[in-house]
Amino acid sequence: MSAALPREILICTIARLLDGVRHVAVGASSPMPAAGAMLRRALDDGQRPVRLSVLGSVEHNFFTNGSAELFDSAGQGRLDAFFLGGGQIDGQANVNLVGVGDYPQVKVRWPGSFGSAYLYFTVPRVILFREEHSPRVLVDKVDFISAPGTSAPGVYRAGGPVALLTGKALFRFDKARPGFTLESVHPSHDLDEIRAATGFAFDHAETPAATPAPDAATLSLLRGRVLDELAETYPAFAAEWRSDLAALTREGSPA
């Protein structure tokens, strides 16, 4: 089997971060988190049921009480993991989904906070996921706090950020400090590059670990069952992935 694609390493990392969850929800346009959740479910097959809710999907929607039910289930403690992106994410894990500049008349307006200002407080394992790893995304301080990374003592906070995954690296979040620690660097990236691309300070080992590549069995599961399943909901993403795999096979083949 050929070496893992960068996106496959991300998906396998997501699946690892989801170890042990019973119910994970992903946004409507989030093929990678969905793939990670599907891989988690495939890996746990026969041991533990993993429920996946894809917001706005008809196929991956087992809710029957309208769009409020996701939030209700989080409030009840029935949602273990969720993904948040963010136009800006800062070193305190504050997330900005609203815009750049002075609110409300921002220079750049993004869609809005969606459920972040609630789910960040109620879902135990929130994974910050943003492929773009640049100083304009990973800022020192967000312009608008859609959802704060930490809360003052006494504030109800059953959930919060556990990790930040980008196209270059994986960080763990330490809410006591609070701040991010570089956990691992993805293949073909290095610490200097990550330091230059990150607008906030973070802890790191002198020589950070490399993000592990999936083993052959996992990769096979991913490219088989998971890719097929993903194609039902994200056909364009799955097709692009398949085409990259085909290219990889051509390159790697002796012909």
Binding site: A28, S29, G56, V58, F63, T64, N65, G66, S67, A68, F71, D72, G75, L97, V98, G99, Y103, P104, Q105, V106, K107, R109, W110, P111, G112, S113, F114, G115, S116, A117, Y118, L119, Y120, F121, T122, F144, I145, S146, A147, P148, S151, A152, G154, V155, Y156, A158
Partner: protein, 269 residues
């Protein structure tokens, strides 16, 4: 049938608050043209809990004073161009919310109570920019701040659904946010794919997904009335058309051109 839609639009008067559903729940795109033709402006739109094409069109048409929403976008087709432009220009008032806060406000109206508490929000700029919300100390446990969302009571709720019967009962299936909007609103206007002759309340299977006529002010037939959005169990979104709108509406001129076509093609006078 176009007359029905026009008559429904006339129930909307300037300055009213309108509740509109999320893209995938049943947007009555069929009502967009009659609303713009009718021209009642200064509207306060409540997106349940997010908005898209219809809201962007009403903003572009200059009918909107305030948007209360958790997000506004065209989904895969990107940002909502007329909304984004209006925000930059300061042309509309934006009440940024978070999805469950919109649901909480509607639920308060449904329950006939002045407010509902909600977890989260504390320390966010969403809360900091909503002076109409409150934070109190939980009366059941001291030292536990909790946010309160006041009741949202829209004047009119407007949505599209698969079917209604002749008594005005509407089948909404498991899209219960549509019922929540109707409970909270003073009046509800509904377009449907088809009107059926049997009563939707006559058997328990259809009754389970039915909004009773008690909450429904008017119903009109509008086949493919969610287009270019999809309708669950009926037809898929027309992403190409959304993309076409997204590209055109980047400028005011492009929007005007697109709308000339949209307003012309949909509903012959």
């Amino acid at each position: 049938m176009p007359q029905d839609l026009r008559a429904m639009a006339r129930r909307v008067t300037p300055g009213m608050s309108l509740a509109l559903p999320v893209d995938y729940a049943g947007v009555s795109m069929a009502m967009t043209r009659p609303l713009i033709e009718h021209g009642a402006g200064g509207l306060h739109l409540v997106c349940v809990p997010t908005g898209g094409l219809q809201v962007d069109m009403l903003i572009g048409a200059g009918l909107v004073a305030t948007v209360e929403t958790s997000a506004l976008s065209l989904g895969e087709a990107g940002g909502a161009p007329r909304f984004n432009d209006a925000v930059r220009q300061g042309g509309i008032r934006i009440l940024d919310a978070t999805c469950p806060a919109i649901h909480a406000g509607l639920m308060a109206a449904q329950k006939g109570v002045p407010f509902l508490p909600i977890r989260g929000l504390i320390g966010s700029d969403v809360l900091a920019n909503r002076p109409d919300w409150r934070v109190i100390d939980n009366p059941f446990a001291a030292g536990d701040p909790v946010a309160l969302i006041p009741a949202i009571r829209p004047d009119v709720a407007i949505f599209h659904a698969p079917m209604a019967d002749r008594e005005g009962n509407v089948w909404i299936g498991r899209r219960r946010e549509l019922a929540a909007m109707a409970y909270a609103a003073t009046e509800t206007l509904v377009t449907v794919e088809r009107i059926v002759d049997r009563s939707l309340l006559a058997d328990e299977m259809t009754a389970a997904g039915t909004l009773p006529a008690l909450y429904v002010g008017a119903v009109a037939e509008a086949p493919r009335g969610a287009w270019p959005y999809g309708l669950w169990g009926e037809y898929a979104s027309d992403t190409d058309e959304l993309m076409r709108y997204a590209a055109a509406a980047r400028t005011a001129t492009g929007f005007a051109e697109y709308m000339a076509g949209f307003m012309g093609q949909e509903m012959p006078a």
